[in-house]
Amino acid sequence: MKKIIFVLLIGALLAGCATKPVGPLTLTVMTHDSFAISESLVTQFETENNVKLVFLKSGDTGSALNRAILTKGSSEADVFYGVDNTFLSRALEEDLFVSYASPLLEQIPAEFKLDNQNRALPVDYGDVCINYDKAYFASHDLALPQSLDDLLKPEYGQGSGNEGLLVVENPAVSSPGLAFLLATIAQYGEEGYLDYWQALKDNGLVVVNDWSTAYYTNFSGSSGKGAQPMAVSYASSPAVEVVYAATPITDAPTASLVGDGMCFRQIEFVGILKGTQNEKLAQSFVDFMLGKDFQEDMPLQMFVYPVNPDAVLPEVYVKYNQVPETTGSLDAQLIADKRDVWIQAWTDTVLR
């Protein structure tokens, strides 16, 4: 009896999934939830290469990377897209990728090419900056902070109750939160950043866990109509506010603070996974991601900037986004080595 049930159970399980379609080769891309692409581009790549594209998404960058690390060698996927410069060294240490010197790399500025062995190739970047609510600053006749130091001024510490005007995300949970922490470390060094955060905390800093809460619950510039007129978000957010306005608007309700050292640049990479059976196709896909068509598609699908300078930016980007002249930068290896220590020290300073 037991055996019969056992066999039936296994049989039922297998029956549900035994039929795998036979047809063109499939190329599987493992990525995070924020990955987006136009349907026409997918079709274009599929027809040009006679291949079927399959995307596996699992959560945010951290969980997608974990998946790649834990299923290493299972050849579940051929390409991994979405590891950023804060995770880059960890991914390289795990030996996930094979090198590929794409011919398109020539066109890409050296500042983005962080792996000299070309195991991880840059695709896009986004600057994490403080967004501000234009209407609030205008109606309160408040000057804009020009530097991280400016944020310590008392006029930015008095909002509602004992809360100040700035909301940031918890770097232990949120990727823009971590990026902003890294901007302060780049600015004040390992010896000075905790003092800065202590001073920010004394000036009414508001901390929430994730981007959605910061932006939609706390930020007054979004449709959530929160209490803080400044929130850590992306330099591309003002343009997105225009694209996704509820009623057509002629100007962005928000803008970014792009003073020296106030932003941190996140660069995202693609790599060909070790153990792939389709290395040639995977290389074609990497070329496709670095090529003009995809690079021009990204800004309005994923709201990131293309690394390929040939790509023309959409008009809303030029019109509504502020571009920082300099951004904080830290060595990827240093980030990988110290990230836990920095996050823990930040937690002890700001949250306890």
């Binding site: 159970l9 608007i249 309700p253």
Partner: protein, 562 residues
Amino acid sequence: MQSIGKPRKKFEIGRALWVLPAAFLLFFFLVPLGNILLVMATRSGVVSANAILQPLWFTIWQAALSMLLTLALGLPAAFIFARYNFAGKGALRLLTTLPFILPTVVVAAGFTALLGPRGLVNGWLMQAFNLQNPPIAFMNTLGAILVAHVFYNTSVVIRVVGSALVQFDPRIEEAGKVLGGSPWRVFREVTLPLLRPSILVAALMVFLFDFTSFGVILLLGGPRFATLEVSIYTQTLSMLNLRMAGLLSFIQLACTIGITILYTRLNGKRSVPLMPRLRGETVRTPKSIFEKTAIGLMVAVLIVLLVSPLAALALKSVLQTDAATQTSSLTLAFYRELFINRNDAFFYVPPAKAALNSLFYAAVTVLISVGLGLTASYALVRQRGLKRWLDPLIMLPLGTSAVTLGLGFLVTFNKPPLDVSSFPLLIPLAHSLVALPFVVRTIQPALASIPASLGESAASLGASPWRVWREVELPIIRRALMVGVIFSFTLSLGEFGATSFLARPDTPTLPVAIYRFLSQPGAMNYGQAMAMATLLMLVCALAIGLLDRLQVEGSGSVNSDL
């Protein structure tokens, strides 16, 4: 002859029943969990005792406090639902179930709309008392965690304890009164002890839910609070410290086993077999002023606490603010926009398709968890020896870290045919793991309460085992069965964590679609998230309404047969 042959056959089937749920748990719980814990143990990473003790202590006391508060609201509510008829009862019962399905991001948005610094309540208070600053600080407080836990889990108490109360034999209480007991004494010495098993079940479920709470802590509690589950999440996904995450998951599991054993001890006494009632004979309309006020108060509290955040969400989905004039107007723009793929997005999913995906997964979850739950309950009732290991094993998934188990699924099921991209049933299977304990915990007490004499007398009158089951046992457990169905259904509809790990991008569920909108700036995205959340509530309300109706009609027809 017949009466000797039949019970033997029944006995044999009964002996093999445990194999099904046990095999299910082995394949889809123990193997993936064991796999991932082994992987985690072998990886390098810093382990610190302080990073364990702090969240452990917080996890335990916030869960205990949340559970007590949930019982404090849920028990009187269950009592009133089970004993009294009042206007709008059906609608209110349905609305109190809805919180259970809502993803935390949406609930956080609902609470913000009500109690946030610019929320309705603060706005009203500031206007009424001419205040400069919002008087209520709700977000990112312990209070927010507790309120949200009560918001989520009160329906567990109402449904579980309520279904026990309705089946109650009123003659027992009447006997107590006839013998001279005051109403309070009858309640304390007759009603309460008889309700004990169901109260314990509800308490256990609520405790475990709060114990593994994740989204509520993260989004409403804010960065100053961390449960074990939150720590596992940050250690895994942000620090990539899998060794620490594995250790924390193990501790969480050990606690769950301890809690389950404690529950079994407390519940050790054999349940009293009662002649169960099929239709609520005890339901009546309130008479005295006292009863009417008490019911009125209770209804008001339920509406304020459980229904108003839902209403705030629905309101937000039809309100748009003009950027220039800052005036709000009613609109259906967000709903219309849901049906348009404006920028040719490859991963665009029409709302109807997301709803169908959700409903499909929920239906399969119900089939799996109720099927396995029934067999497990029968096995547990017939073979008391199983209780020692099968009972805690069934409970275990409830107290297991979703992040860890999700990774376990990815590590274990990554080759065809059992991989995420070719085996869509992994999602309802994962949902069933969490739903199964509910189903078993609701069905098993009902089964155990059936006096053996009932089936025997039917059999001796010549009824086949199938007929005995269909006409004697099923009507008695029907109410409990429906509670199980509704819970597994709603659990699956609202589940986000495992689904986001396992869903293929082209087949997202409603909660996954809601998250997509909320991860981008823009009033249109926010409005669409609210619209999608309202659709989720609507879909769920329709389904539960249908199931509730089924239950009422079902028991009615059986009653008229008798």
